[in-house]
């Protein structure tokens, strides 16, 4: 094998080029923890985008729950050169490598600029083979996209009739090609030394799709399935479960897939796993109202299997129609199913609801349970319209869900594209639930659900509360409720608002954020995510559709303090709208945000944003 390469002038030239480039930058060699062991890890660093001077590497035999736990091996703080090797590593499976990069030469914690992690590493016994592992370096304060196949493999241009045409091997006529390697000959073949030069026709994971070899995914390094309007939730062990959503773009509509596949991002390995939910999850698995409960269940309500674009203010985005429709004219099939997902085990329990709808909002309440405010609702006579009122839904011990109409909420106005927040408590067990906005005009913008008292209040707007706030996202930050994005008219024009609710008086006041125009412009969006980062102040506003109808390719980090809002940073990312952005809970990426799925375009067949990205705060 090596003999063949050395024989070729191409390889000689390649080595010379490499040697010239790395002159004076010798990689580091570390003595590993097990002097008698033959295993060796070699890490090449690609530090170009990072302002890093030094690094530390830690090797775990299994990832600890506590980030401060002692690793199997920890390198000294070392200058960030071209890479390093750790010699004398025990041969075994399941290692986790953590790389931290620092902007100071002493690796002080406050100067950490990046972290990478890769698990499932197998250090093999001597003489049994070798492998390359990709370890993603995530810059702090940056959104780092997980890898996607290069264009040359996404559409190889190689014709095929079956997968084997793409994955199989073919003889190398020119063995000096860099993608040629030697493979043992079949017993029936005659070849010199029992070896022959071969190469993959395209890639061992490529598939034949519509007559062309394509490598559509780098799963498990990234999520496999396209998704938008899906669900994502953090598990207690540092993972994020992702499921449901639209997966197919057909003509003017988005559709779900017949296969219900759930994916889990494991931040302790930095890899995805997938689970086939089979028939467990119904087909109407997009645009579900979701909440997390205090007993660790993700609960979903309703959903749809199809959604088209709605044009407002010359911007067409996927949305529900607010007009009442009958039968086929509705073009949306809603669901009367609810699911409780045990986030620790992944077990899913299905229940049938008293109501049928999609596109609503929900929040966890004591019980444990959730308060659900549907968007569109199916009614008598095959009619469908915008929902009014809310349901109090409780989880039984067997995780089945039963719902009752929240008393007095029949007096609420019909709301679609509203948002939900918690005034008192947490989003997993909220006592005073506030629902804001939606496609209502000159009506109460806010409503309050006092869960303990079973009391519904239409809030009276006082002062400069906008008459309409459609498509905004509400979060709790800086001690009050903030909304980000949305429309106050047909345009995508809403500034961030700080809302105050007086439960006793039943009043609602709002104050638009006093930000410079460039910051306000950056925050105008719908179909975005507003993700509180867990410190009570900072919120990451990611993706969405901007006022110009284009999908935004940035995130804005804001910090809320006592009624004021400041923009901390604008962060580039891949275009995503109607995606999910979920804070990871625990592990070495505690409080990082997994941004998954979404749309990268609002028209055409190639609409889905691939894979996921990680924001490291």
């Amino acid at each position: 094998m090596r003999r063949g390469l050395h024989r070729s002038w191409t390889f000689s030239a390649m080595v010379a080029m490499i040697a010239g480039c790395v002159d004076g930058a010798n990689p580091l060699e570390f003595d590993g923890p097990s002097p008698g062991a033959a295993g060796r890890l070699t890490v090449a660093l690609n530090q170009a985008p990072l302002p890093a001077l030094a690094f530390e590497a830690r090797l775990y035999r299994k990832l600890p729950a506590d980030p401060q736990a002692r690793p199997y091996y920890q390198s000294p703080c070392s200058p960030l050169g071209t890479g390093f090797s750790i010699n004398h590593v025990e041969e075994r499976k399941g290692y986790v490598l953590v790389l931290d990069a620092y902007s100071s030469g002493d690796c002080s914690a406050s100067t950490r600029v990046a972290r990478g992690l890769r698990g499932d590493i197998e250090v093999l016994a001597e003489g049994t083979g070798k492998a390359i592992y990709f370890v993603q370096l995530n810059g702090i304060g940056q959104v780092t996209e997980m890898p996607l196949p290069p264009a040359s493999l996404l559409d190889s241009g190689v014709s095929c009739t079956a997968d084997v045409d793409c994955q199989g091997l073919e003889d190398c006529l020119d063995e000096s090609r860099t993608d040629c390697f030697q493979e043992a000959c079949l017993p029936t073949e005659e070849c010199q030394g029992g070896l022959k030069w071969v190469r993959f026709r395209v890639h061992p994971a490529a598939r034949c799709i519509e007559g062309t070899c394509r490598l559509e995914t780098l799963y498990p390094l990234n999520g496999r399935w396209p998704r938008a309007f899906h669900v994502a939730a953090a598990t207690p062990d540092g993972s994020v479960r992702v499921f449901g959503g639209f997966q197919v773009a057909t003509g003017a509509t988005l559709n779900t897939s017949p296969r219900a596949l759930s994916e889990t991002f494991d931040s302790g390995r930095f890899l995805f796993d997938e689970q086939d939910l089979g028939a467990t999850l119904g087909q109407a698995s997009a645009a579900m109202a979701t909440a997390t409960t205090s007993n660790g269940r993700l609960v979903t309500f309703g959903g749809t299997s199809v959604l088209g674009n709605v044009n407002r203010g010359n911007v067409a985005v996927p949305d529900f129609r607010s007009e009442t429709c009958v039968g086929a004219a509705c073009a949306v099939t809603t669901s009367n199913e609810a699911y409780a997902v045990d986030l620790a085990t992944g077990t899913i329990t299905r229940s049938v609801l008293e109501f049928q709808g999609a596109g609503g909002v929900a929040i966890g309440i004591p019980g444990p349970g959730a308060l659900v405010r549907p968007g569109v609702l199916a009614g008598e006579g095959n009619r469908q319209g915008v929902g009014r009122g809310a349901w109090r839904c409780l989880l039984a011990e067997d995780d089945t869900i039963s719902c009752l109409e929240f008393p007095g909420s029949e007096n609420a106005v019909a709301r679609l594209s509203s948002t939900i927040a918690c005034l008192d408590g947490t989003r997993k067990a909220c006592n005073d639930v506030v629902v804001l906005g939606g496609n209502v005009r000159t009506a109460p913008v806010g409503e309050l659900y006092r869960v303990a008292e079973n009391r519904f209040v239409n809030l009276t707007s006082v002062g400069s509360v906008p008459e309409t706030l459609d498509g905004a996202v509400a979060v709790e930050a800086g001690g009050q409720i903030w909304t980000f994005g949305g429309r106050t008219s047909d345009a995508i024009d809403a500034p961030p608002y700080a809302f105050n609710v007086d439960p006793g008086q039943g009043t609602l006041t709002a104050q638009a954020a006093g930000l410079p125009e460039p910051d306000l412009a950056a925050l105008r969006r719908v179909g975005h995510q507003a993700t509180p980062l867990g410190d009570g102040k900072r919120v990451l506003i990611s993706g969405g559709v901007g006022p110009d109808g284009k999908i935004r390719d940035d995130a804005v980090l804001v910090e809320a303090n006592a009624g004021t809002l400041g923009v901390v940073a604008r962060i580039p990312m891949a275009p995503r709208a109607f995606h999910q952005a979920v804070v990871i809970e625990g592990g070495l990426f505690d409080r990082a945000v997994l941004i998954s799925g979404g749309l990268k375009a609002l028209q055409g067949t190639d609409r889905f944003a691939g894979g996921a990205a990680l924001y490291l705060p």
Partner: protein, 310 residues
């Protein structure tokens, strides 16, 4: 434990513990405290040396009037991780010892500062979580076993002067001629007569063409015994590559080229111009066996091992 004696002070705790047995129902055979030694842990000495040091600890502790339990197979660092703690303090060691039917847990670690080896020994009473610790040092790897013994004596107390008498144990096998190992020490070919101190040992018999047998041998004071181990023949299998064969050549013939990290690095580097990456991976032992290569360059992600058939 005897509360009155423990009250005498933590400094004397360990030795007091060992000499003041509770009723037999709560402790090991003969009312002796059950001591669970962990494997000696270190990042500074070889695995072979660590095994030898662990044996040394076991040998030392067996000289005390205690029941010595078999150390867990896992490295103490793994046990620490499982116990969700970050250092080997009393709390953590107590957690590690929970549910292992032990009264005392013994931890030993070899570190290094400058040119000197540092030894830390900790003994924790699991019931009260009281800990006694000692430190020692030596300037040579050869002196580690002795230095470790001194540190053990600092927590266990002086070695009892009345040495228990070795007990005669006959080990035979059917067929005879098997290699006999006692706690990894080769003792001869069966049948063999062993003179061993009371305690619990791992007895292993190995013979070419027969399945290896490992079993526990418990030796009680003044009770001689016989052990006969039947060996089960295994079907003949093709011989492996002789040990003297050049392993690298073997590897390069059987390992598909596309699975080698340095191959992909070269390809990736040329394709994307990432010469730095390739430089690192090629610069040392480019075809060294037993290696795993990493790259942080997303352009090399399609070469990740998970995407290839195993």
């Amino acid at each position: 434990m005897n509360g009155r004696l423990i009250a005498a002070g933590v400094a004397a705790m360990a030795w007091v513990l060992l000499l003041t047995p509770e009723p037999a129902s709560a402790q090991g055979a003969g009312g002796r405290p059950r001591v669970l030694p962990l494997r000696v842990t270190s990042n500074q000495v070889s695995g072979t040396q660590l095994q030898a040091l662990t044996e040394s600890v076991l040998g030392k502790v067996r000289k005390y009037p205690v029941e010595v339990l078999t150390p867990p197979a896992e490295d103490p660092v793994d046990l620490m991780v499982d116990a969700e703690c970050t250092d080997f303090d009393a709390e953590c060691l107590s957690r590690i010892g929970q549910g292992r039917n032990a009264d005392l847990l013994l931890y030993a670690e070899v570190g290094k500062k400058g040119d000197r080896f540092l030894i830390q020994v900790r003994l924790v009473e699991l019931k009260t979580r009281q800990m006694k610790a000692s430190e020692g040092d030596t300037d040579s790897e050869e002196g580690l076993a002795k230095a470790l013994e001194r540190s053990l004596e600092a927590v266990l107390g002086p070695e009892p002067s009345a040495e228990p008498e070795p007990v005669r144990v006959e080990v035979a096998s059917t067929p005879p001629g098997a290699e006999v190992y006692l706690d990894q020490d080769f003792k001869g070919l069966s049948p063999v007569t062993l003179m061993v101190l009371p305690g619990s040992y791992s007895l292993r018999l190995a013979k070419v063409g027969y399945r290896e047998v490992t079993q526990r041998l418990t030796v009680e004071a003044r009770k001689a015994g016989n052990v006969v181990v039947p060996l089960e023949a295994v079907p003949a299998v093709p011989l492996e590559m002789p040990a003297s064969a050049p392993k690298q050549e073997k590897t390069s013939e059987v390992t598909p080229f596309y699975q080698t990290w340095w191959f992909w690095t070269v390809v990736g580097a040329v394709v994307v111009g990432g010469a730095t990456t390739a430089g690192v991976l090629l610069s040392k032992d480019q075809a060294k066996t037993g290696s795993a290569g990493f790259s942080s360059d997303p352009r090399l992600a399609p070469k990740d091992v998970t995407l290839y058939p195993r």
